[in-house]
Symmetry: C2
C-alpha cells in the first residue's frame, strides 16, 4: 500500500501521527524556504508542508501540477486553518517524498470552473473526470444505482442478465447490428431494451425482475441523447397497474431519501394523459407550479374533451382568434406591470422559429381591478375579465394568449408556460415533484403509411375495457382523413409515465399476455402473420404455455441522475460519453477496421 490514509481523512485528533499519503499535486506555493503543497485524491485535499530541510530535494525534483506524489510525515495542527475543507485544521510536516509519476502541463486546470472547452474536456476525458464537479456526478450516479438495487432487492426483485447479442426486429427505432463471423451473412442486433426478455422471465415464473442495463438505439442524436444509455429495467408478474405504481413510486422515493435525504412522503399525483395535454399542453408537465392552460376555443380533437366552444372570444371581429383552430391562455402571476418592452420581448420570444407563433396577445389584470389588453379594441373590459377569469388570473397577473393550429399552439403555450415559470423562479431546482401520467392513447396515426403505430411499444396492453374494441374492429383505416373516427383512435393504453419536474424519467405498461391479443396488436401495426412469427415467434410461442398477467417499467437512469444532480445534460453523468455524432473523441471511435476483419466477417463497404 502506498498510503496509510487518504487525503480526505486526517483530522485534528490525529496530530503527531506518522502517516503516508499518495495523490496528485493540486497546487504548489513557495514561501521562502518552505513550500506548501495541496495533495488531492478521490477523498479530499490535505495540505503538505515541506520544510527547509527538503529544499534541496525539491530543487532537484521540482513538483508540478498533477504530479503523482507519495509522502511520509507527521500530522500537525495548522497555524492558519481552513474551515472550508474537512482536513483544514491539520497539515502534514513532510519528511520524505517520492514522485511516483510526473505530469505534463494539463490542457486545462483541474478545477470546478475549468478553462477547457467541451471538445477539449471530451478529448482529455480522463483529466476532466478528475474535476470535483464531474466526480460528484459519478458519485451521485453510483449512489442512485446502489439505492435502487437495495430497494429492489428488499422487495424480492432478482437481477437477471439478459443477452446483448440478440435478433434485429426494428420497430420504431433503428437497431445497431453486429455481423456474425460464425454465421456468415447473418447479424445480431444490440438490444434497444430487454423488453421481450423480461417478459419471457415473467412467463418463466421469475415474478420480480430488475436490471440496470445498457441499451442501444441507432438514432440521429439530439442534443442530449446517447447511442448507448442505461435503464433501470423492471418487471413484475401477477400485478395490476396500481401495484406497479405503488412499487415504483416507492423506488423513486427511496432514491430521494438515500441520495438527497429528501422525505417524499406524500402520494405521487396522478393525471391522465388527456388532462396533462389539456391542462399543460404537454404529456410530461412540470407541476411544481400552476399556470394551467385555459382553452378559449375548441378542445384538443384527439383528447376528445370539449369544454369551450369559443363563446368568450368568437365574433368580436378579431380575425386572429376567429379563424384560429385553437386559442390558449395562461396567467403569469404578478406580471401585470410588465412594460411595453417586456411584452414586446415576449412577443419576439414566441415568434422565434423554435416556437413559431405569429404573435402574442396579452391582458393585464391591473391591481385596481381594471383590464388592459393588446386587443382592447375588440373586447370589452367585461370580456377581458371573463377571459382572464377562465385562465385563473387574479389582480396583478398577466394573461398570455396564443392562437393557431392546434398542435403547434399547444406546444408553444406549453413552452411559454415553462419559460415564464423559469423567469418567475417557479421552477426551483431543489424542489422535486413527481407525477404519474396515465392512460396514454394505445396507437398513434402514422400519416406516411396510413396505419397505426404503437405509442409505447407493441407489447403494451389496452385498458381492460378497451380490449373488446381492439379485438372486434378491423385496424384498417379506410378513410385517412377520418382516422380520428376509427375506433382505434380512442383506445387507451394500460401505460404510465413517471414525470419528475417536467422530465419523463420512466415509463411502462401492463403487457399483453394472451397470444390472440398480441397477434391482433401485430396485425394492427401492419405486420403480416409471417413477419410477426419471424420477429416475435418466440414470444407468441411463450404465450402458449401459461403466461401470467404482468407489467413493468423502465427508468432512464442517465436522465434520472442528471435531474437529481441538478443538470440539464446527461453527458455530465456518464463517465465516457459520446458526442452528437456518436463519436468517442478520446478513443477516436468509431474507426476503420482492417481488411482481415472484413474478410472474416464476409462483408464489405458500400459507400455512397
Amino acid at each position: 500500500m502506498y498510503r496509510t490514509h487518504t487525503c480526505g481523512e486526517l483530522r485534528i485528533g490525529q496530530v503527531n501521527d506518522v502517516v503516508s499519503l499518495a495523490g496528485w499535486v493540486q497546487t504548489v506555493r513557495k514561501f521562502g524556504a518552505i513550500t506548501f503543497v495541496d495533495l488531492r485524491d478521490r477523498y479530499g485535499i490535505t495540505q503538505l508542508l515541506f520544510g527547509e530541510d527538503l529544499n534541496g530535494a525539491l530543487d532537484a525534483n521540482p513538483l508540478g501540477r498533477e504530479f503523482v506524489l507519495q509522502i511520509k510525515g507527521k500530522v500537525q495542527e495548522r497555524s492558519s486553518k481552513n474551515a472550508n475543507i474537512p482536513t483544514g485544521e491539520i497539515e502534514i510536516n513532510v519528511n520524505d517524498f517520492v514522485i511516483l509519476n510526473k505530469s505534463a502541463v494539463p490542457p486545462f486546470t483541474i478545477q470546478d470552473d475549468t478553462d477547457g472547452g467541451d471538445d477539449l474536456r471530451m478529448k482529455y476525458r480522463y483529466l476532466d473526470l478528475r474535476r470535483n464537479a464531474v466526480k460528484k456526478n459519478l458519485e451521485l450516479r453510483y449512489a442512485v444505482n446502489r439505492s435502487a438495487r437495495n430497494y429492489l432487492h428488499e422487495n424480492n426483485f432478482m437481477d437477471i442478465e439478459t443477452p446483448f447479442l440478440i435478433k434485429s426486429t426494428p420497430e420504431g427505432a433503428r437497431d445497431f447490428v453486429v455481423p456474425s463471423r460464425m454465421n456468415p451473412g447473418q447479424f445480431y442486433a444490440l438490444p434497444q431494451s430487454p423488453q421481450t426478455f423480461k417478459q419471457l422471465l415473467m412467463v418463466s415464473g421469475y415474478d420480480r425482475y430488475y436490471q440496470i442495463v445498457k441499451c442501444f438505439r441507432d438514432e440521429d442524436l439530439r442534443a442530449d441523447r446517447q447511442p448507448e444509455f442505461t435503464q433501470i429495467d423492471c418487471e413484475m408478474a401477477f400485478v395490476e397497474q396500481e401495484d406497479i405504481l405503488n412499487m415504483f413510486e416507492g423506488l423513486v422515493k427511496r432514491v430521494f431519501k438515500d441520495v438527497k435525504n429528501i422525505d417524499y412522503t406524500e402520494q405521487v399525483e396522478r393525471m391522465t394523459w388527456e388532462d396533462a395535454m389539456w391542462q399543460f399542453g404537454n404529456d410530461k408537465p412540470d407541476i411544481r407550479f400552476g399556470m394551467n392552460l385555459s382553452n378559449l376555443k375548441s378542445a384538443f380533437s384527439n383528447g376528445g374533451k370539449i369544454t369551450s366552444t369559443g363563446e368568450l372570444i368568437n365574433g368580436a371581429g378579431f380575425g386572429v382568434f376567429d379563424n384560429a383552430e385553437t386559442v390558449l391562455a395562461i396567467a403569469a402571476p404578478g406580471c401585470a406591470e410588465y412594460t411595453r418592452k417586456q411584452t414586446d420581448e415576449l412577443t419576439e420570444w414566441v415568434k422565434r422559429p423554435q416556437i413559431g407563433m405569429q404573435g402574442l396577445v396579452y391582458i393585464k389584470c391591473n391591481a385596481d381591478g381594471t383590464y388592459k389588453s393588446s386587443v382592447d379594441k375588440f373586447y370589452s373590459e367585461e370580456k377581458l375579465k371573463a377571459i382572464a377569469d377562465s385562465a385563473g388570473a387574479v389582480a396583478g397577473d398577466l394573461v398570455l394568449i396564443l392562437a393557431g393550429r392546434e398542435e403547434r399552439t399547444r406546444k408553444a403555450i406549453s413552452d411559454l408556460r415553462l419559460e415564464m415559470g423559469k423567469r418567475l423562479g417557479l421552477r426551483n431546482a431543489d424542489e422535486y415533484k413527481l407525477l404519474w401520467v396515465m392512460d396514454f392513447p394505445l396507437f398513434e396515426y402514422a400519416e406516411e403509411d396510413n396505419r397505426w403505430v404503437a405509442r409505447h411499444h407493441p407489447f403494451t396492453s389496452p385498458k381492460p375495457d378497451h380490449i373488446e374494441v381492439m379485438i372486434n374492429n378491423n385496424p384498417l383505416i379506410e378513410n385517412a382523413d377520418k382516422y380520428l373516427e376509427h375506433p382505434y383512435s380512442n383506445i387507451k393504453a394500460n401505460a404510465y409515465d413517471m414525470v419528475l419536474n417536467g422530465n419523463e424519467i420512466g415509463g411502462g405498461s401492463i403487457r399483453i399476455y394472451q397470444r390472440p391479443l398480441q397477434e391482433k396488436m401485430f396485425a394492427a401495426l401492419g405486420m403480416t402473420e409471417e413477419e410477426a412469427l419471424h420477429k416475435f415467434g418466440f414470444l407468441l410461442g411463450a404465450f402458449e404455455y401459461g403466461a401470467p398477467p404482468h407489467g413493468g417499467i423502465a427508468f432512464g437512469f442517465d436522465r434520472l441522475c442528471s435531474i437529481l444532480g441538478g443538470s440539464e445534460s446527461i453527458r455530465d453523468f456518464i463517465a465516457f460519453p459520446k458526442n452528437n455524432s456518436g463519436r468517442d473523441v478520446m478513443l477516436d471511435a468509431p474507426s476503420a477496421i482492417d481488411d482481415k476483419q472484413f474478410d472474416e466477417l464476409q462483408i464489405k463497404l458500400n459507400l455512397k
Copy 2:
C-alpha cells in the same frame, strides 16, 4: 394484486386465514369428487383442494399442467402432511378460481429431471427456466452478484459504467464490430473487457472501481465458452500486488460465506507459476489433493529449474525412458492392488488421442514392501523403490509414469492426475480450495511470427526487478531456435490468477503506468510506434498526466457461479445462453437483416 401470498409462504400458523394465490398448475390429481392441485410459483408449491362443490366448475374449465391459476380459499391443516416442502402441513380449501391463462402441453415436463434434450430446452428456454434446477442456478448467480457488490461497496469501490461501443484494437482475441451509420465506413467494437477504461479511471483518481459487466469475444466457441460473458471487473490505485491479493481473496471468501455459508478463514495458498507447472503440470492446479509430480529426467526447459538429471532412470537399457525428453511420475494412493485389467485400462486411457501418450509404465508399491513394475526387466527393485520414493509413494500406492515430449507429457500427466483424483474421490465437490498462482512469464513466444506475445495482456507490468531487463534489451529475436536464451523469455509478470478447485476463476496484474515502459511493451509485441499511437494513443496520452501505480483483477462471473453451483457448464448459469455456433436458438439469432439496414449502414455482404 392477484394474490395475498406466494406459493411458498403459508404455514400451519395461518390455518383459517382466507388467502388468494396465483401460480402454475404443477399437477392435478382427482380422487372421486375432490381434486388436488399443486400450485407452483417462484417461491414454492402449495397444495390446493377443490371440493365437491367445485366439481361442475372444474368440469366446465378443466385444468392442465402449466395453466396459470388464481384461487381464493381458506388455509387448512392437511390430513396427510408432506415433510419435504415448507408448506407441507397445510393446503388451501379453494372456494373460487380463475384460469388466468391456459397452456398447451409443454414439450418437456417442468421437473428437475426433465425429459427434454438440450436442443429442446434451449428452444423453449422460457419453459426450461421454470425448472427448479435452473431457477436455483439463477438465484445463486444473483446471490453471488449481490454478495460481491456488497463487499466491494463496503470497501469503497465505486461501480462506474464503461462504454460498450468502443474502438476495435484486436490484440489476441477477435473483436465483434458494429458498423456506424452516422460515420459511414467506420465501426465500433464491443469491449473484450473494460481494461483500458478502468485504467483511465485510475488515472482520473477514482481509486477503487468495479463493475459486473458484459464482455464480448468473437472466438470459435469451445464447449463451455460464450461469445458474451460477464466479468466482475475491479481496479485499484496506489496498491501493490499484496494489497490486491488480500482485497480479492477477501471478496471470494465473502461470497463463500454469503452464498454457501462456508467460513473460509485460512489464508489462500500461493504458488509461483513455475512451481505449479513443476508440481502439477498445470497453471491452475487442483490442490484439493496431492499426487504431486516427480520429474525423473530434465526439468521443464521453460521453467529453468533443474532438479533431476535422470540418474534414476537413464542407462538401464529402457529406450523409452532413455530417449524421452521428459519422464514424469505420480503416485496414486492405495492403488497397488490394481489388476492387470485395471492397469491395461489406464494404459488405454493415456493412449486415447485426447491424451496422446505411447504407453504407461507403472510400479506397484506392495503392502509387503516389495515392488512390482511393468519395467521389471530394466530396473532392479532398489531402483524401483528409489523412483517410487521420488514420487512420494508409500506402501500400497501405484506409481504411474509417462514419457515423451516435454509439453505433451506434462499435459498428459496433469490430465492423468486429475482423472485419478476423480476416480479416487479426492475431488470433493463440497470442498473449496483457493490458490493464487503468481509470477507468470510476461511473454510467450509466437513461433509463426517469430515474436513475443503478451501472456496476460499488453498492460501487465513486469516484476519490478525485471523492468530493467525489459527496457535495456532489444525485443528482436535474432535466432528463432534460441528464443529461450533471449532475456525476454525469463521476464516474469506482476500477474496473478485465482484458482478454485482446478479452475481459473480470476486473473489480474499490476499494470504498467509509465509511458516509456508501455511504449516498450507495444514495441516488444511488434507494434510500430504509429500503430501503438493509433490503437492506444489515449492511454499513452493519459500516462503523460500523472498516472498512479495501479492494478486489478477480473473474475469470470459465469464460471465462478457454475463452480459454486457444482456444475461443469456455465450455460446452466446464464438465463439466455448461446449454443456452440453462437446462436440463440430460441430467438433464432443471428439472422438476416433487411435491405434498408444494409443501405443505411453502407455495407454489403461479401460471402465466399
